[in-house]
Each structure stands twice: as C-alpha cells, then as structure tokens.
Subunit: 451 residues, 2 copies
C-alpha cells in the first residue's frame, strides 16, 4: 500500500509553494491514458479499489515529515509547512471514477480528483501507478481470456512480476478481467480469489522416481489432483499414469510443442481409461499462442499464463497522465489546459457517455459534466470529502460485469490483431471550451481521441 512518501519530490516542492501562498484553491485533476498501445483495442479500468484505499489512509507519518525536513530541495519551506500542514494532512477531496472492469479508451478520464490544490497534487504519483498498473494488467488479461474461448485461464505470473506487491495486484487485475484463479496466495487471501496450483518440476526431481512422485502427491492431496508430467518425458509419464491405474483430475504440460504433445497425451490418457483427466498447459503462453492452440483444436482444457499477463509484456506501461483541468479562481472553477508542443490536453472537468443498447458500446462522447448528451455516463462519484461513498465490489462481481461489458464492444475493437479504433468523440461544448482556451493553438489536434 502506498503511503505519503510514495510520491515524487516535485509534488512536495509545489505543495510547499501552494501552502506558502496562503489560501489554497480547489482544483480538479483527471487521470487518463493519452494513447492506447498499438496492440490494444480497448483498456479495462482497474485499480480503483486500491486507489481509494490509498486516499482513505493517506498521510505523512512523523517519520515521513522528519525525513522531508532533511531534503535539501525543501529547505525553503517554513516550519509551518511541515508541522502544521503536512503532519495533519488528510485527503478531503471528492473523486469521480469509472467502475473497475469497464472498457475505457484513450483520452477518457478514469478518475477525477477535486480537492484543495496541494492535496490533489500530492497524490498524483501513487494514483497513477496504482490505477495504470492494474488497468494495464486487466487490459492484457481480457485479451487472454478472449483467446481461450471459454477454457479456464489461471494466473501464474507472480515470479516474474515487478516485485511482490505487483504480483499480488496483477493477480487481482487478471481475475477482474476473467481469469478463473491465481497461484498467488497473497492475492487469494486479500481479495478472496480462487487459488490454484499443484506441483513444480522440483517435486518430481526430489522424489526417487516420477511414478513415486505422482503416487505420493495423489496420496496426500487426493486422487483427482493435477500432475505435472514434463519433468522427463511427458508421453512416458502419461503412459505410467494409466499403467498405474491413476485417475488424476488433470495433467499439466509446461514445455515442448504443446499442440502435438497435448494430442498425443490426450490419446494416451483416453486409451488408458483417463478420459476424465483434463490437460492443462503453461509455459510462456500469451493470447496469441493460446489462440493458436485453441484454433488448431489442441485438446487443452485450461491454460496457466504467467509473465505475459503479470508484466503485460507486449505493452508494459500505459501513457497515463494526471492533469490539472480546472482551478478555483474568484470563487469559481475555471477550466485550464497546457499547450506544450504535441501535448495539448482537453480542458475542464469532463464526463464520458457511452452510447448503444444496454450491455453494448457503439461509441463514446467526452463532454462537459453538465452537457446534455446521449448515452450512459461512465464516471460516478465514489468519494466525497475524503469519505468513500460505497464499499468496493468483490472481484467476482467486477469480473462478471467486465465480461459483459467487454463482450459488448464492437468485434473489430476486440479482435486480437490490428484492432480497429473505437469511436470516441468530443462534445460540442467541450470542443468550444478547448478552442476558446487554446486560441491560436486550436489547430493542434487534441491528443488523444481514438487510438
């Protein structure tokens, strides 16, 4: 869980400046992804639960403040900034957000924070890493789930995740997007996720021989447990299983050419009376390899997917930003935007409307919150004056909603290769506001609409 210091130094230098200026204006920041990775047709929003937990517990401990007093770049900040301000700081703002599991697109705010300027500023770094990471993982995982066409997919990627916290959160995001289970026990406990897993090659190696390894495992964990059969020769292992009269619930293949190998193993199992034994496959799988296996009719009943999901290996970051979009001036919220070369943002607080029949998505409109727009608004209030409005849903519930929502996207957007751009339009009111603020720069296209 991130804390007060899970942030960049410049957030503190700015906060010191805002504090020194006296009365703190309220401001809104929006978190959005500038552009989708080329291999993604859609993103799946995730990480809101952890973002809200972070905001709810956010503070600078006495140790944090003592450290900050030693930072040379903060030497100009007066004692009141440390003792009166930082030490007592709590998050008192409002948050609007898109529900976890909902597909989102470039330029669409996933989160809007409205709070006294320094508060909203200081939480930038941790909100970004929290929301972007799980969104990235859920977006990758959704593709894997689609590729498996209903077969089970299990998250195995903890060992290659970017540390233990990332392993746990990746498991959550993968399950949110449709994975049936994870091997990660931390995630299983914290989020109530189903956990799965049986044995590694080391179990087999550590026993006198493979048949003994299998028998001992089934004796302890039940005759329907899963056996890993590729420590030596998978076909020989399958034969030894049927010859010993075992009836494992499944066998797992973790290497080799999984298509032909699964066929040969299936034939051996079927011929030996093990028609009820499933075949699971793992080993550097991703959505493309799974789609290839499924498409070729490989008799594989479930897939263990590791690194590809836990690191989103083909797109290991999202171009997510958290931008100041409005600030209180003379008592009123005033929309803002920067217009650095090539990085113009849409100004003002925004809402996203999704059009199309219920459970489907035909196109989105990004507009001003009070514009009358067709469609269902995606952002809803989730925190008011620092208090959560409602408890988070269980991952299983988010997963069910996610599967429906992803299923409602246009097939061209969901396709695994070269997905089409989902239509995202800017409302007339927002377009007018943007043009009025950027003046001569209005000719610069507003990144990022569409992909």
């Amino acid at each position: 869980m991130p804390g007060g210091l899970s942030t960049d130094l410049y957030e503190l230098t700015m906060a010191a400046g805002y504090h020194a200026a006296g009365r703190m204006p309220r401001a809104s920041f929006e978190l959005f992804v500038r552009a989708l990775p080329p291999t993604r047709g859609y993103l799946v929003a995730a990480g809101l639960e952890q973002a809200l937990e972070y905001l709810g517990s956010w503070r600078f401990t006495a140790e944090d403040v003592a450290y900050l007093r030693t930072v040379p770049a903060l030497a100009g900040a007066g004692p009141a900034f440390f003792d009166e301000y930082l030490s007592r700081l709590r998050f008192t703002g409002d948050v609007w957000a898109v529900d976890e599991g909902v597909p989102v697109f470039a330029g669409e705010p996933l989160l809007r924070v409205t709070a006294p300027l320094a508060e909203a500023q200081l939480v930038e770094t941790a909100l970004l890493s929290t929301v972007l990471f799980q969104t990235m993982i859920a977006s990758k995982a959704a593709r894997v789930v689609e590729a498996a066409e209903g077969r089970a997919v299990i998250e195995f990627g903890g060992r290659r995740a970017h540390g233990a916290e990332a392993a746990m959160l990746a498991a959550r995001a993968a399950c949110l997007a449709g994975f049936q289970a994870t091997s990660n026990l931390d995630a299983g406990r914290r989020f109530g996720l189903p956990v799965a897993g049986t044995m590694a090659h080391s179990w087999v190696l550590a026993q006198p021989d493979e048949p003994t390894a299998f028998r001992r495992f089934l004796d302890l964990h039940g005759p329907r447990s899963t056996l890993l059969i590729d420590t030596y020769d998978p076909l020989a292992a399958a034969r030894s299983i049927v010859e010993a009269g075992l009836r494992p619930g499944a066998v797992r293949l973790d290497s080799g050419d999984l298509g032909p190998l699964s066929r040969a193993v299936r034939a051996t199992l079927d011929a030996g009376g093990c028609a009820g034994t499933q075949i699971l496959a793992s080993g550097d799988l991703d959505e493309h390899r799974i789609a290839g296996l499924v498409g070729s009719g490989a008799p594989i009943d479930g897939f263990g997917v590791g690194t590809a999901v836990s690191t989103s290996w083909d797109a290991p970051s999202l171009s997510g930003v958290y931008k100041l979009v409005e600030i209180e001036r003379d008592g009123a919220m005033t929309p803002l935007t920067k217009h650095s070369p090539g990085k113009t943002n849409l100004p003002g607080a925004k809402q996203v409307w999704r059009t199309g029949p219920p459970d489907a998505a035909a196109g989105d409109v990004i507009g001003l919150p009070d514009e009358a727009a067709a469609g269902r608004p995606l952002l809803r209030p989730v925190m008011r004056q620092g208090e959560r409005i409602a408890a988070g849903a269980a991952v299983a519930e988010l997963q069910a909603a996610c599967r429906v929502a992803v299923g409602g996207l246009p097939a061209s957007v969901r396709t695994r290769r070269d997905p089409a751009s989902y239509p995202v339009a800017v409302s007339p009111g927002l377009e007018r506001l943007a043009s009025s603020l950027t003046g001569a720069s209005a000719a610069v296209p507003f990144s990022p609409i569409g992909r």
Copy 2:
C-alpha cells in the same frame, strides 16, 4: 516487503508433501536467467539486499496459517503441517550470491539457496520476483547511464512503475546502476538516495501567469532552482526568464524536438546572461534517444528518465528461474537436473569464475564449486543458517563498484545496439557431470550459455 503468502500455491502443496514424508532432506536451488533479452549484452545483478531482508523476516503469521487452512488444495495436509510446521517456520538455510552491481550473464547463478527442502522451495516465488525485478531495472539503467556519457541521469519513473513498491525498488536499482538521483521520496528515505525534482506543468497552470509562477517558485525554493519552461512556449519562457533577470540553476524541457529546442533555449539563455543555467530534458527518454541527443551535440546537461527505466520497457521481464540442482540423498548432496524438451538445466551447485585483469572481464566459466578454475569467483556466502554474514552496502558504494565493473566489460558487449555475446564457458567438471546425468539427452545443448 514480501511475506509468507507472497508465493504460489504449489509451493505449499509441495511443502505439505515434503513435510508429510517425514525427515526433510537439504536441497540447493539456484536462481539464474535462462537467456538475455535480445537488447541486452549484460545484466547487472541487483535486489540481493531485499532478498536477504525477505529471508531474514520470512514467516507465516497466524493470519497466514488461518487462511491456508481454508485453501481447498491444502485440505489433505494434516494439522501438524499448519500448527507445528508452518507456524514455526523460519529460514534456516545458507545463501551464496553474486554481489549487487556485478555484471552477470545467462546461465550464471545469481543466488544459491541451500536449506531444508521445503524452506528452499517456499521462498522461490518471492526470491524470483525480488531479484529479477531489480536486476532487470539495473540492467536497463546501466545502458541509460552509458548513453548519457557522463551527463546526469535522474530516475523519474515512479508514476508508470508497476505499483508503489515497484516504483521504490526501481529507483533503488536505477541508482545502483549509476543514476545520480531519483524523484521517488520513498526510495530516497529508505535507501538514502539523493532526491531531485522541482515543478510540474500544473504549478505553472495554477498561477496567474508563467512569469509569476517562475518568480514565486524561485522566491520560495531559492534563485538557483530548476524551472519547467514548456507549459506554453519554451522559447518565450526562456526569454521571459532572462528579461526578468532570473538566474535559475536549470531549466527543464519535457516535450518537443529536444535537439533543436535545447539549442535555441541555450542560445537565448547565453545571450541573456544565463550561461550558468543548465538545461535538463525529460519526456519518454531512453538510452537510444539520449544517445541521439548526446551524439548530435545537443546542449543538454542532464536527463530525467522515467518509464523506460522503471518498467524496463523494451524488456519488461527476465527469463529467470529457480531450479533444484542438488538434494541430500543417503547423507550426501546429489546433483540433479530435469530434461524437459528444450529446457535442460545444468545440474549441481555451481560457482562462476570471471577471468581477465582486475576490474575487467574477459570471459566467465561456470563450474563446480570445488573445481580449480582460473579467475575470480563471483558467488560468495551471504547468509549462513538463516543469519546474514555481513550487512548490505550503501547504494552509493554499490554504484561505484557497478560503474567500474560495467566499464570493465568488453566494448562489444556494452554497445547499445546488437551487443555481442560475452563468452561464458562450462567447466570440464560440470560438463562431465551434466553428461553423466542426462545420458542420451546430452546432445541437447545446455541452455543457456552465452546469450
């Protein structure tokens, strides 16, 4: 910090099996990377400090054990496994490891754990994610440091890291490999790293105008602070700085075509009496873009590097594994290996010797620990019976050693594009052992030697 449950379920099912079998043999596992990513000529070992902290504090809390009792896959384990074994478990093993900051190559053990079998097994997942993550980041960061050719590089990537813990550890690994500072305060505090950072675009947007934003910042944080000048028009901002008679320590550019822009800004600053004001650049930089800017003579004094380093974006995972290499049988350690198709490993406990003059590396030999080999051994004992042998070094100290060691690699291996394979040989003794164990499979080349 990972805990007892930061692991995969199958480690527990196996541990239950080892426990049920009665006396627990000792076993050794080695952690190594199967193959280098195509864009890496070398890796930089990192993460050992956190790995040893994890082992030192490793336990299953009462809550952990209570959860594990509810896991269906562990229903076969008896009460003694939970109450007598897991509840009291501490890491009692020995660890040999390569020092942090030392260049390593495919197939070379970074870590060897020798412990009662279940202990060594249960820590697999967290050791892998801990050591692989920082090793991956340090390896990327070393390339960025080389590309900057002595100019300062600062780690800015927390917001795109895979969560707050990953942000903190990425900052550590980047500094270990030669980054001068990080913007991440959590890392600054925990690891004593220099922290850097000044203002974001939001600071400028939140003020009445840019000149006021600059003046207020310098008033508070000192006249030599750094100003971000690309919120609107960087050249206009540079002109306004000199016209106002300001003398900031540096200006930062975060967008645009950094080569021509830095030249124009430099000219404006120099003409206006700001020859002492440095130019910093940031914005989706990596080693290739930095090398391009440095090579073209762009007058940039330092680089802020974010996502490319904090996610190792071109190689966001390492093919690292943790393999059982020997087990106690009849009172003696017996070497082992699996030989799944394409995944044969070298058996037995190993040592790595590095040849060449001091501070240089001409080639490595992977051999048996007691073989007489030329060169300096890279693995040394760091933990004995669960106790650390020596405290970890400060990051600054590791950084200095790392820079020397990377500088001693052949230039062809250090080159940014298409690095050559560093020579890694297998000793005659290890070769004989491997052939004797794999028998007919000995023709399969032992992955992974070389790249």
